[in-house]
Symmetry: C2
Subunit: 153 residues, 2 copies
């Protein structure tokens, strides 16, 4: 998993530059998330870390670590499924305010895309017509990835 190492190293570098501590366990949780194609629950992460390093973190620690990783912008929480997924922009500079998560209902794979400005503009207008001002939205949308779709056909 050369790739995931690299991404985690980016995170490490970011932490050093910003006075954050990417401890061993935080690294480990982040690595697990980076390597997973689908979002993981806190307890799934716990299991995963156990098999990886033969040590069972208490739930509280997992949640604290996830909080830290979210604060740092390394992971997102999918509210719909109570699961966590690594941000796909850890290794790039590219700022992203509005994220959209496409979740395959078959294989559970998660793809994070930026919402194009046009779509956001439409959504803001839609909301304004109903008397609402949008906060930076995080969209979580179910669908079928083309891989699964082709397999079905």
């Amino acid at each position: 998993m050369r790739d995931s190492e690299q991404i985690v190293n980016h995170a490490q570098k970011f932490c050093l530059e910003n006075g954050l501590r990417l401890t061993k366990k935080r690294r480990q949780v982040l690595k697990a998330l980076v390597e997973s194609p689908f979002a993981l629950s806190a307890y799934e992460l716990r299991e995963l870390c156990k098999t990886e390093c033969d040590e069972m973190l208490p739930p509280m620690s997992i949640y604290r670590i996830l909080d830290f990783l979210q604060e740092a912008g390394f992971v997102h929480r999918l509210n719909v499924s109570n699961r966590y997924t690594a941000c796909s922009h850890i290794a790039c500079e590219h700022e992203h305010l509005f994220s959209q998560f496409l979740i395959c209902v078959k294989c559970k794979m998660v793809t994070e895309i930026d919402i194009p400005d046009l779509t956001i503009k439409n959504m803001k207008n839609d909301a304004a017509s109903a008397g609402f001002e949008l906060e930076s939205p995080q969209l979580e949308i179910n669908g079928i990835c083309f891989t699964c779709k082709n397999r079905a056909a």
Copy 2:
């Protein structure tokens, strides 16, 4: 609450026409949801029904009733907050496939709007570019309602 009665009666009529049974308890849960400006959790509904009719439904019953009401199209579940809200189209004929819920982060009020075709089209395209085919999405978006916004200013 003349209005909510009327809406519940529409639901009743719909059930009669479609071989569904809107029992007393189902009616009661639906009425509570119709009258609430914000989404309610299953356990909040339980409390509400108790104060209304002095009888505490077991959690399982609440969930079963909510399942029924969802199947019938009378209520929606907000996945982000694990809460339930009455569909705003019970009393109108108007079909709606793609719903968007605007949730005020201040007062928690929920507004259900239809997503305009243009916005949907954009979202479908966005997803397709990432190798996904959308399922009929339900969008749950946080924001501030103009009432709260004006109050703040």
